[in-house]
Structure formats: structure tokens, C-alpha cells
Symmetry: C2
Subunit: 394 residues, 2 copies
């Protein structure tokens, strides 16, 4: 008799973004023809850059050619991809070896897969507000979860002094949803704490490309000691518009060990057993992101999003509303005006100005009363949405 995974019963009925999609669909069904301005889920609006498109076409052509055809790729990543990423880190002054780079189908998939490396009884610490999949992926495995609330008084930044005896700690910087960025000194305190306590830091760097302030770290491996306590999970979704194309990578240092087991070697074993590699076509497209030509193109697109973020932040500023983020991050995190709660504010915007945002409550209890705007929309939609918001709240 098969027993299903009963932990699924402990999950909420539906996942945050699925719930938003359902509410939005219901509204559209009741109001056919309405066009929504979507600033909710962090999906990008700008196409892939020409250098990446060219690489994707060339890879498709390889798959049509008998001599150049590519079958199974090495499970941990094609050598050209791993070397390209390592060289990219080297240019930024971070020493990473190709065999420490693992290709992935994207950060959100990887954040679940990587949990397989850890005993499900080792507790996870999740600073909140947080990307809700951090919690749900752990609930599904039955792992004990400790929520570490953060608030406006500390700029929504988590402090290691409050970490207790966690085994696995999620750090997302620039943060989704608050846009807060851990500076070098705070990140060093986390690294030191982890090396003392034996914890492992899961550093979610999905938004690192939005950091322009050179004083702020973009990789946890800029911090001394991190090679003994951290895994970095990266994505091309926001960096290069790969949300629908899918590709990411994960860095696991060769030095990272716990209980005498090497986590890099364990991940090699995991990948060679549980995966047959990631698409050659996508790896070619992904590797192209790191060329000089593509980097220039990608940065132009990032500038569009950064300008959107500024438009959002300036609007909230004029409205006299409290907010964080939007500077070295693509998200702006605002406190809902009185008397609205997160979901009430969501409904207010959907019904009155046809703007879709994300209720802060969906990112954990400490997000209640807050709301997230994404800067990944088109400039026109962002300007229009903020003009409507200003009219609505004024």
C-alpha cells in the first residue's frame, strides 16, 4: 500500500503566485476586455538580447547537423558553460573554479533540488519576508522551519545574532521582496557565524545584476571564509531575461564539507544520478550572456528596469508612503496606506486601477500590511500604473 507524502497536507491550498493568477483571472472573466498593468510576479518584459538570440539560433543549427549534433551533455554542465561562468567571476575578482559551477534549469528549480543534500531533520532558518517557495519546498520535505522576522527598524535585514541553532540559512540579497541588500560587514558576520556554528548559507543571488553600488557585494564569495560555509544560487532570469527561456547556475566550493562529507562531490553524485544534463541549446544561449557584447546589451535592458524602479520609488515618495528597495534591486516594497491590509490593497488596485502587485502577506507573516511592486514591466505600463496609483491615492 503506497503512502503519499503527507507533508503536502501542511501546505496552504495554493501557492502565492498561483493564487494571484486565479484572482486576476476571475477579475478578467467578470470584466472582459480590461487590460491589466502587471507589476506582480517578477516576470520580465524585454526580449532576449541579440547576442543571446544569435547563440541560440547557432545552437539550434548544431542540432540539425549530423557532425555538430549534441547528445547528452555532461550532467554538471557543459565545459564551455562552466568555464565561461568561472571566467566571468574572475573578471569580477572572485576566484571560482569551473568544477565549482553547476548548470541548472533555473534558480527556483534548484532551490528545491539542492535540499536533497541535507538531512531533512536539520532545521532551516528563513528570514522573512521571503520568497514563498523557500518555505513550501521545506514543508514538503518535513524539514523543521524557523521563521526569522525582519522589519523596517533594521531595514528588513536579518541579523545572525538571532539565528539560533539553524542548520540551513536562506540569504537573498538583493532581497525579494524587500529590495534590501546585505552589505559586506553584515554578510561577513553571517559567514563568520556559519563557520562557527556549522550551518550552511544558501545565498540566493538571483538579483545580483541589479547591484551597481561597488561597495555592496554581488557574490557571497567576495567574503573571506564563505568557501567553507556557502552555496550560491544564481539565475539568468532577471540578469538576461531568461524567465521563459530558463537557465541558471549554482556555485558549490570544493572546500565545503559537513560531517566529513564534501558537498561539491555530493552534488556531482546527485546530478550524475538524478539528471541527464541541461539542454545544450540553452547552455549555449546562457554562455553567450557573459560575452562582452551581450553584457553591454543586457545592461541596457537592466537600465530600463532600474529606471522603472526609480519611477515607482519616486511616486511612493511623492505620496508620502514608506518604502524600501528599488535602488540596487528590481523590487520596491511599500507599506500599504491605512486602513488597507495586503490583500485588501491588492483588490483595491486590481478593481480600481487594474494594476496587479503582490500582497506582502504572501511573503510571510512579517510582510502583512506591505505590498511589492516589480520593476520588470514595460516603461509605458510602469509609468501608467504609477500615474493611476497617484490619482487613486491622492
Amino acid at each position: 500500500m503506497l503512502k503519499p507524502n503527507l507533508h503536502y497536507r501542511e501546505l496552504h491550498d495554493s501557492y502565492l503566485f498561483a493564487r494571484i493568477a486565479e484572482r486576476t483571472a476571475a477579475y478578467l472573466e467578470a470584466h472582459p476586455g480590461q487590460r491589466l498593468l502587471r507589476m506582480g510576479i517578477g516576470d520580465v518584459s524585454q526580449p532576449l538580447c541579440p547576442a543571446v538570440i544569435r547563440a541560440l539560433h547557432a545552437a539550434v543549427e548544431d542540432q540539425a547537423d549530423r557532425e555538430r549534433f549534441q547528445g547528452y551533455q555532461p550532467e554538471c554542465g557543459a565545459p564551455f558553460f562552466r568555464e565561461t561562468v568561472a571566467a566571468h567571476y574572475a573578471r569580477r575578482g572572485v576566484a571560482v573554479r569551473p568544477e565549482e559551477v553547476f548548470v541548472s534549469s533555473g534558480a527556483s528549480d534548484e532551490l528545491g533540488h539542492i535540499l536533497d543534500l541535507f538531512d531533512p531533520a536539520s532545521p532551516a532558518l528563513i528570514p522573512e519576508p521571503a520568497y514563498p517557495a523557500y518555505v513550501d519546498a521545506n514543508v514538503m520535505t518535513g524539514r523543521p522551519i524557523r521563521h526569522l522576522p525582519t522589519g523596517p527598524e533594521a531595514g528588513f535585514l536579518p541579523e545572525p545574532e538571532a539565528a539560533g541553532d539553524a542548520g540551513l540559512v536562506y540569504l537573498c540579497s538583493p532581497n525579494n521582496p524587500t529590495g534590501a541588500v546585505l552589505d559586506r560587514s553584515l554578510l561577513r558576520r553571517w559567514v563568520d557565524w556559519a563557520n562557527r556554528s556549522g550551518a550552511v548559507l544558501l545565498f540566493d543571488a538571483a538579483y545580483e545584476a541589479f547591484v551597481r553600488d561597488p561597495a555592496l557585494p554581488r557574490s557571497i564569495f567576495e567574503i573571506e571564509g564563505a568557501r567553507h560555509c556557502a552555496i550560491e544560487i544564481c539565475s539568468l532570469s532577471k540578469t538576461a531575461g531568461f524567465t521563459g527561456t530558463r537557465l541558471g547556475y549554482t556555485l558549490i566550493p570544493l572546500e565545503l564539507e559537513r560531517s566529513g562529507m564534501n558537498l561539491n562531490a555530493m552534488w556531482v553524485r546527485n546530478r550524475t544520478t538524478r539528471s541527464n544534463g541541461v539542454s545544450y541549446i540553452l547552455q549555449r544561449g546562457g554562455a553567450a550572456v557573459f560575452s562582452e557584447e551581450a553584457q553591454a546589451q543586457v545592461h541596457k535592458t537592466l537600465d530600463i528596469y532600474k529606471k522603472n524602479a526609480k519611477i515607482i520609488a519616486d511616486t511612493l515618495h511623492r505620496l508620502g508612503l514608506f518604502y524600501t528597495g528599488g535602488r540596487n534591486a528590481p523590487y520596491v516594497w511599500m507599506r500599504c496606506p491605512e486602513p488597507y491590509g495586503s490583500w485588501e490593497f491588492f483588490d483595491l488596485l486590481l478593481r480600481n486601477i487594474q494594476v496587479v502587485g503582490t500582497p506582502g502577506e504572501g511573503f510571510g507573516a512579517s510582510g502583512a500590511g506591505y505590498f511589492r511592486f516589480s520593476a520588470f514591466g514595460s516603461p509605458e505600463d510602469t509609468e501608467e500604473a504609477m500615474a493611476r496609483l497617484e490619482r487613486l491615492l491622492n
Copy 2:
């Protein structure tokens, strides 16, 4: 203090195909310039068909265009992909609804992911010889495993009478590595047994496209009652040459429930939480496989592999060696000639005729003394390898 997943200690040092790759690399290093005839890992040799290439290029172009650009895809699959697969099954006389079709990054990945639906204490039954990832993926989760040996006396086919009280049963047909195919009556006995015992059958249909005999089932859902006890895991790797391009799909019937929990709904929850969907480009390429034009092209390629299989089988027949498979399957499974064991025969072929096959022992204890040839090489390599084998053993 983080505790790693200690189950990894119970794994062998390296995964079968990684081990073969290492031995082969060592041989090549010692004998530079040698060209190997690779008939080991089941990787295809023929390029993608023109209709798929065209669809991939068109999808890449969509990603270059601001209006047609595709961001995050629905996590369970793009509607166009799910509908195309359901229509393909309908044409074969099998009723499958689009919401029962889940896109995947490939069958080997999915075979690991899907285990998340089941309590790790529910035992798995693995008929052997078997694809080694079945075992290793379960060892990693600490699930109790029962090995069900099969042998030449029953055509390497597993019988439900020997199943005991397993929770989860792997059935691979056409079988990797033996090429054995479960006929309708045997498959019906497994379905009836599972419905009586409450087990769930994981039907690995990766090689279904090689079944040409209309009397043999290609999908478990051709069998009455299977909708209450089976999940079917499918791949485009062998069907359409997607080993390096990556795409597959999984069928979970809406009726499938255990302990009052609906497995289709659980998988929706899993995908919406643990994945951000599969690449739009790959789903477009995958959907194109099912067009009339592509099916004709794909069948021409399959004919090449089927002809290879016949060349291998005919050679073994002439040599008077016992073998199975190769008729409705791309693998030929032979008994090693005296006095060779599986790995000794592997070394014999590598060193003397530069042919790489797969030692049967790698598929479980009951594979000891056997050897697998794959028919996925080029016709030239296959003919040359078999000519060399004939010279060596005569």
C-alpha cells in the same frame, strides 16, 4: 550544525555511466588518437528532424521580439504543449486530458522528482536488471528498496505474484536494458495487482516509440484500470533525438488517489512551488514532434536505429550467443561468452576492438554476466562494431 544527507554514504562510489566514461577516458589517454565505437550509453547519433528545427528557430525568434516574447511559462506546461500531447494520445486511442499531461525536463530528471509525492518509508519494488538511477534515486531518499530479479527463463519480465507488499513499482517497457516488452495480459495483471494492493506503478515509457507490433501496449493507459494506479513517464530523448535538447512529459490521471490525497493535484502543487516552468523554446520544439510532418521524419530516424538493432541481433545470432531485445526495443541484451564477466567483457571489447558497451552488472545483480548494446549509434559505426565483434569472437 548542518547534517548532510547521510544516505549518500550508502551509494556506490560512482554512477554506472560516469564509471564507464571514466574507464573510457583512461583508455583514450593511454591510446591517443584511437576512435571508439560507442554503443554504451543510450545516446542518439542522428540530428533533430527538420520540422522540430524549424519550430525551435521560430521560438527563438519569438524570444527576440518584444510583442511575441514569452516569460514564465505555466509551471505544469504550456497549454499548447499539454493539448498537443493529449491529442497525440487520442489519435492512438488513449483518452488523456491536457491537465493530466505535465511537461518535464526529461524522463531521468522526472524519475527523481516524482518520488517527492510519496512517503519515503513506502517501499519501492525494482524489477532488475534496471536503469541504475531507479535504485540510486531511492537510496538517496532512504526509501526501502526491494529488488525483484528477472532472468532468461521468463524473458526478463517481472511477475506481479512476486511483488509482495511494495508501495511503488517501477515498470520499464520496452525495457532498458533487456529490451523485453510487457504484453497486454502481463501489464493487465500488474494493473489489477496494483489496484488490489494499493501500490502505484511508475511506468517508464521512454522507449515506447520502438514498439511497432500493434499487439503490444505503448502506454499503460491502454489497460483498463490503469487510471487508478499508474503514472506514465515519457521522454522525447529516444523518440525524437532530444537527449541533448531535453524535454519529456508525465501523465498523472485525475483519478489517481492514495490515502485520500489526489496525486495529480499534489503534482500541480509540487510544480507550482518547485519549478518556474520548462523553457518555452523547448516546449515549442517538443510540441512540433507530434505534427504529422515531424512524425514522418522521426519515424525515418527510428528506422535507422531499428535497422542497427537488427544488425546487432543478427550478429549475435550468427555467433550463437544468447540475447533478448532489439525487436520492439533499441537495446540488445546478450549473455557474455564464457569465461567473461560483464566488466571483463567490457574491457575485452574496449581494448581489442575499441567498442564501448554497457556491462550488465551495472543494472543490478541479476545483470551479472550480461552485456547491453545500444542501437543508437550511426549505421556505419554499428556495422563496423559488429564486424569487429564477429572477428574477435570467431
